[in-house]
């Protein structure tokens, strides 16, 4: 089975996880295509070929895990796109203002939102985050989207603006997790209508406040430089997280009963 794992810098966790088990799964041919940084936004999918199509390379263009500027997704049996953005900003703004019927209440909110209205809003939001038309309704490889992991709990002490919405969401703890599940149900339904599967963050990786347990941030790697990420990187996850994701991917999404071999610690820091 040929599987392409594409996406942003978050592809690294899948790569790290895969490196732990690849020798035990010879029937799977897994290719990686990762582009960190702003240049990733210039990648396009044209005729099932994904990557950098511009004749003149973007100055920040980086491809990790693949020896070409593009990858033919049509030649794959399955494609896993990692690091997909799903709408946490909108969910955070909603939870700040509304108490949603039926969800655990934490703090007083100025407005109430009925469950039918929340469902309608979530379905609405899900449509907004569907991938572009060229990613929908594939007849060849099975496309799966994996949202980027929630940052780990250490981001709560960060003064950086990018973590403010996560600090807001974490303040709602159980409410956030329940709301997120409902939203992702809608997102999964919306994706399913276009033949796309959703790979959720493994349940065991969540802290009670909805962020990722700090342990999954330890050992996260910058595959471009092949060095461990800085202590103040809260968004990238390690091989263990990647392994849990792959386990879920193989069993729930691919549907093939893949027996995961015991991870080899020696492989965990293997070069890409």
């Amino acid at each position: 089975m040929k599987i392409a794992v594409i996406g942003t810098s978050h592809v690294a966790m899948i790569k790290l996880g895969w490196d732990l088990i690849l020798t035990g799964l010879p029937e799977i041919d897994m290719a990686f295509f990762s582009s960190p940084g702003k240049s990733a936004r210039t990648r396009k999918l044209i005729n099932m070929v994904f990557g950098y199509h511009a004749v003149v390379p973007h100055p920040d263009e980086i491809v990790i895990g693949h020896d070409a500027r593009t990858i033919d997704l049509g030649a794959q049996d399955a494609v896993l796109q990692v690091g997909y953005v799903t709408g946490e900003v909108e969910l955070a703004s909603l939870l700040e203002r509304f108490a949603i019927d039926g969800l655990p209440a934490t703090v007083e909110k100025p407005f109430r939102l009925s469950r039918p209205a929340f469902d309608a809003f979530c379905a609405n939001l899900a449509q907004r985050y569907l991938p572009p038309p060229e990613w929908r309704g594939w007849t060849g490889p099975r496309l799966t989207l994996q949202p980027h992991p929630n940052p780990n709990v250490r981001c709560l002490s960060s003064p950086r603006e990018k973590f403010q919405r996560w600090q807001t969401l974490a303040a709602h703890g159980a409410t956030y997790l329940a709301a997120r599940d409902i939203y992702l149900d809608h997102f999964e339904t919306a994706l399913g209508q276009h033949g796309i599967a959703l790979l959720r963050q493994p349940a065991e990786t969540f802290a009670p406040n909805g962020l990722t347990l700090a342990s999954y941030g330890k050992g996260a790697m910058d595959l471009h430089k092949n060095v461990p990420l800085d202590e103040d990187d809260y968004v990238h996850m390690n091989a263990e997280f990647g392994l849990l994701s792959l386990e879920q991917y193989f069993t729930k999404v691919i549907g093939a009963p893949v027996h995961l071999p015991t991870p080899s610690p020696l492989n965990s820091m293997k070069e890409v």
């Binding site: 109430r112 009925s114 039918p116 209205a117 809003f121 907004r128």
Partner: protein, 351 residues
Amino acid sequence: MTSPYEGLDPRAYWRSGVADRDPLDPGDLYQRGFAITRKMRIATAGSCFAQHIGRTLKQAGFSIVDAEPAPEWVTDDVAHSFGYRLFSGRYGNIYTARQMLQLVQEIRGDVTPALPVWPMGDRFVDAQRPGVEPHGLPDADAVLAHRATHLAALEQAFRNIDLFVFTFGLTESWVHRDTGTVYPTAPGTIAGTFDPEIFAFKNFTMNEVRQDFVALRRLLMEWNPKLKFLITVSPVPLTATASGKHVEVATTYSKSVLRAACGMLADQFQNVDYFPSYELITSQTARGAYYSGNLRSVTHTGVAAAMGLFLRAHGIAPTNAAHPKRARAETADDAADDLVCEDALLEAFAK
């Protein structure tokens, strides 16, 4: 001795003011009573035609208060289906002055509407705004909890407005016999059950309409003594009448009462201005062109003509939506009825 009708402005004479006017030219039907500016914080309420007014003012850059905003990323169709973005609060259509008065009295804690929760199948809705939760809520407590936050949001908003825009829609209403509580829809239309022992038909008189608005004005001005009012009459005829009369006769009565009340109010109070959207849409000059194929719904062109007239009178260039010449070509059935109108549901009861 000269006649007092001699030498008047052309708009004073039927021939020059109406008969000689181009069919879709609103002319100078409206002379503003006071200036309305984009700095004003404006609240809108009323019948479903009022939704056009709020939308147009917003598109023209006026500051329309939204006491209960939906997240900005929610699309209009979804927001509207739950009562968001239709008016300045999620109160749905308020067809009568009495209901608007009752709402403000309830916000102040002066009245508590009778039978505030109506069943809808195995769910429950707010009897005062049955359309804002189309799927209902699981129990009566939830309805009351939602209403409490609704009222709190409205109080905060209404205390901080400079202009209140109200469109009078109907005189016919349904009331609770024992308390006089008025409802926006007849029980049994969207929710609830009609029991003639409990509910009664009420057709408000001109004096009642006028007095209700006078009382409403007084209460709102307690929050802001400088508050101004813009009032209109919806040109949309009744979908159905419970008066026993022909619906066309009942419509003329209802609109006449509302129009007369508005005239008296605008004449009586300097801070009340009347905008003649009713006259413009129903004008003989339009030859019915402002109504869609059902002869009831107002077309996009009609809305654009009315709102263009309003904006020009206030020195604002009409937006595309409010400019009759830029409005898109429309068919006879191209009604501007992307509105949420509970009264239209009465059509379903016709045999």
